[in-house]
């Protein structure tokens, strides 16, 4: 089993090298057979890595503990549905997963771009770039960090799966996040292909945009799932700790968001060409950097992954990628001049530019805060840590500005906005915001940050509602459809735009959820004997001791609580194989406007007479964050849906003269 897997990996490495050589040589000498051969090799890589992955999965299924990796991450007691979680739970397996998903995406790209057409000129270079990345991963997997290392004598049973992975949230977060980081390789490959071929107009952008949006939504969901898991399982009452591993997963996503917006500048006005190329390259570098940080233990984090041998390899790869990309970029810089200039500060172009600058600023600030401890130690031999207050202070105002821009930008016309137009566009949303804030004020929202934050969210919500309403009414007047049909067809025929609005609504929900939970969180602790109670907000919690149960392999302790008459059971789980690592299940009562969040801290005694200590939180609006995440997915799907033909042509026509708000 081990030998089979190893052979597949090494074979994939060799095939990847061949694919690179064949594709580049074929492109250089215009030899179509070589190019085709390179593509076939890429398919072969997909086949071989899939075979290696299946081998590992089968090894888990049959409890083949002669493989060190299977021994370390599974046991006989583990149920089959946890096999995939075991697959990526360790370093080597997660790297194999990364390589596997990259090969899958490569195959998808090859399949989607198989038909003849002007895009075919990019494909050899796209294949070459993807295969370079794949070659690096298979090199690591084959020779440095192999999942197929064999133990000299197979043990009788394995160590078992990490208790954290028994939670559904944790099971889906790593694969989503790793795939999200990996998926930026595809838009990067297209950017490099554009530079290599010198075709720097809108063709590469049209190809790249959809892959960038897919990468964006996968990584975004990966981050939100991570927050959801942290909230449910870590039990500190929050969902984002500005931990280094969180930050490095966020940064490529921020730049990806900037890219999705600045693309439109190039599509409509032929501007920001150099910027777009540079942006997607840096997003890719950050995704590799993120994979490196998460897997090498270099940044001190409570995640404490073992410091490992793969670090220097990643850094070398990243360094070479940066040098190569810079070389290509500066070689083609003369051809990356903008077709047009910015006309006015009050314009859609200007909004996109400010949007990008803000995203860049946030990313830079997060990056600096994350690596500052490394820098301080290297330069001044000081050990420091940079905590959440830094990130909140820096990111808060910048995100606030972005929310404001989210409301203003879409209503700005291209080229130049007239004052009348501005007044007309923003009149109703501003009125709505003032009314909304008055309502909130009456309901008790007085904190200045909350008022400002909610005010911005209300304003943007108002602009989006206005857009949907105006669009539907215009359609209704033009075609006679009833309002519902008009709305449906509006979205269907302009799905890129209105899908985008849905994504913005998702971001608003997330923003409101963050504001509510940060400003209005309530907290208390208590030590309760049976019958004693503690109150927080509108909840009274009565304690009734604990209950211990013993399903196979684990000891589960439930705190028996009654909250306003209903049962609630925060839990601690102690796995036999992992006595050092108990796992927490938060007792959660979720209502639309707040979460009651109870953590079982500890207990003395046993059974119904035990005294239990609790940490109790009220977290307002946190469920809005998860709802917002779902809307991000929905909005992206709507936006990416193949549109009816006429509107597909409309969006790529460059702008000459003034265009009204409906464009």
């Amino acid at each position: 089993m081990a030998a089979l897997g190893q052979i597949c990996i090494v074979g994939a490495f060799a095939m990847a090298l061949y694919a690179i050589a064949g594709s580049l040589a074929g492109a250089r000498w215009r030899a179509h057979e070589l190019i085709a051969s390179g593509q076939h090799a890429a398919w072969a890589v997909f086949g071989l890595i899939t075979a290696a992955s299946v081998t590992l999965i089968v090894a888990f299924a049959v409890h083949d503990f002669s493989l060190r990796y299977v021994w370390e991450h599974s046991s006989r007691a583990m149920s089959m549905d946890l096999i995939l979680a075991a697959f990526y739970s360790g370093q080597q397996g997660s790297l194999l997963y990364w390589a596997w998903t990259l090969s899958i995406f490569t195959a998808i790209v090859l399949w989607q771009q198989r038909k003849p057409g002007p895009h075919r000129v990019f494909m050899p270079y796209v294949v070459a770039v993807l295969m370079v990345i794949e070659a690096f991963m298979t090199l690591l997997l084959g020779f440095v960090a192999t999942p197929f290392e064999a133990l000299p004598r197979p043990p009788a049973d394995g160590v078992g799966l990490n208790p954290l992975l028994y939670d559904e949230g944790m099971r889906i977060h790593p694969p989503m996040l790793l795939a999200g980081l990996m998926s930026w390789s595809v838009p990067f490959a297209f950017a490099v292909a554009a530079l290599a071929t010198g075709k720097l107009g809108n063709e590469w952008l049209a190809l790249c945009r959809r892959y960038a949006m897919v990468a964006w939504v996968i990584l975004g969901l990966g981050n939100i799932l991570g927050a959801w898991w942290a909230y449910h399982v870590l039990g500190w009452g929050g969902y984002w700790g500005w931990d280094p591993v969180e930050n490095v997963a966020l940064m490529p996503w921020l730049l990806g968001t900037a890219f999705i917006h600045s693309i439109q500048m190039q599509e409509r006005r032929g501007m920001l060409k150099a910027w777009n190329v540079a942006l997607i390259m840096v997003a890719f570098f950050l995704s590799i950097f993120g994979t490196f940080v998460v897997r090498s233990g270099i940044l001190a984090s409570v995640h404490a992954f073992a410091l490992s041998a793969i670090g220097p390899y990643f850094l070398t790869f990243l360094g070479l990628a940066i040098v190569g990309s810079l070389a290509l970029f500066f070689w083609r810089l003369p051809q990356l001049r903008s077709d047009n200039q910015l006309d006015s500060l009050l314009s859609r172009e200007s909004s996109f530019l400010i949007n990008n600058l803000l995203f860049l600023g946030i990313t830079f600030a997060i990056f600096w805060g994350t690596i500052y401890p490394l820098v301080a130690e290297a330069v001044a031999d000081q050990k420091v840590s940079v905590g959440p207050p830094y990130f909140k202070q820096v990111a808060g105002p910048l995100f606030g500005a972005l929310i404001l821009l989210m409301g203003i930008g879409p209503l700005m016309p291209w080229r130049r906005a007239s004052r009348d137009h501005l007044a007309e566009s923003f009149k109703l949303p501003i009125i709505g915001t003032v009314v909304g804030l008055l309502v909130l004020f009456v309901l008790g929202v007085r904190d200045p940050f909350a008022v400002l934050g909610f005010g911005l969210c209300l304003f943007v919500a108002g602009t989006i509602v206005q857009e949907f309403a105006r669009g539907s009414m215009a359609r209704h007047r033009a075609t006679g459809e009833n309002y519902v049909a008009a709305l449906g067809n509006l979205v269907r025929r302009n799905n890129r735009r209105y899908g985008g609005y849905l994504v913005h609504v998702g971001m608003l929900l997330i923003g409101a959820g963050v504001i509510g939970s940060q400003v209005y969180q309530q907290e208390t602790q208590a030590n309760l004997a049976p019958g004693q109670s503690v109150s927080l907000g509108s909840y009274t919690i009565v304690a009734n001791g604990i209950q211990t149960t013993n399903p196979p392999g684990v000891r589960v302790v439930d705190g028996l609580l009654s909250v306003n008459g209903q049962d609630l059971r925060p839990e601690k789980q102690f796995f036999d194989n992992f006595p050092q690592q108990p796992s927490t299940k938060v007792g959660l009562r979720s209502t639309p406007f707040e979460d009651l969040y109870v953590v079982l801290g500890g207990w003395t005694g046993d059974g119904p007479t035990a005294t239990i200590s609790l940490a109790v939180f009220i977290n307002p609006l946190v469920s809005w964050i998860w709802t917002g995440g779902a809307l991000l997915l929905l909005g992206t799907v709507v936006s990416l849906w193949p549109a009816p033909i006429p509107s597909r042509r409309r969006a790529t026509v460059p702008l000459g003269g003034r265009v009204g708000a409906a464009a």
């Binding site: 043990p155 500190w236 001049r337 200039q341 006015s344 200007s350 108990p582 200590s613």
Partner: protein, 152 residues
């Protein structure tokens, strides 16, 4: 293909560019200010027990993060019953450091010899009052070998 769109009545190109340079500079300066101010406010020095003790009285009433291993047998509930108190030490420390944490978020894995990172202040009695206590997940030793009795 650089075409300059000029409209009658539009300001000259150089003054337009100036506006954008100014706008960009404003954002850059705002970000730089936020970063610097944030770092000054939120950077916390990270010391071992022995380093903290070496600072002596100068270390009092300043926020630090201190790390050490929990001395076996010293973990106990604090006076409120909700928090914990314990001693931490590192090999170079002359004496262990007494840490007290009154909050509710005690890490699950806290126990003997676990590496603890406590953030808080040292008071004049030599007790470190922690506002947060973190415990490092013991890293899985990649070189671990299965024990003899586990073999078939």
């Amino acid at each position: 293909m650089a075409s300059v769109a000029s409209t009658i009545g539009a300001p000259a190109r150089s003054s337009r560019n100036l506006k954008f340079i100014v706008a960009g500079a404003v954002i850059a300066i705002a970000v730089a200010y936020l970063v610097v101010a944030g770092l000054q406010g939120a950077t916390v020095y990270f010391l071992t027990v022995s380093e903290l003790q070496a600072k002596g009285a100068a270390a009092q009433n300043q926020v630090f993060r201190v790390s050490g291993n929990l001395v076996p047998g010293t973990l106990a509930k604090d006076s409120t019953g909700v928090g914990v108190q314990f001693l931490i030490a590192d090999p170079a420390a002359q004496q262990p450091l007494s840490v007290v944490y009154h909050g509710g978020q005690v890490p699950d894995i806290i126990g003997d010899n676990i590496e603890i990172v406590a953030e808080g202040k040292l008071d004049s009695h030599g007790t470190f009052t922690a506002s947060s206590v973190l415990a490092k997940c013991p890293s899985r030793l990649e070189d671990a070998q299965p024990e003899e009795h586990e073999y078939q």
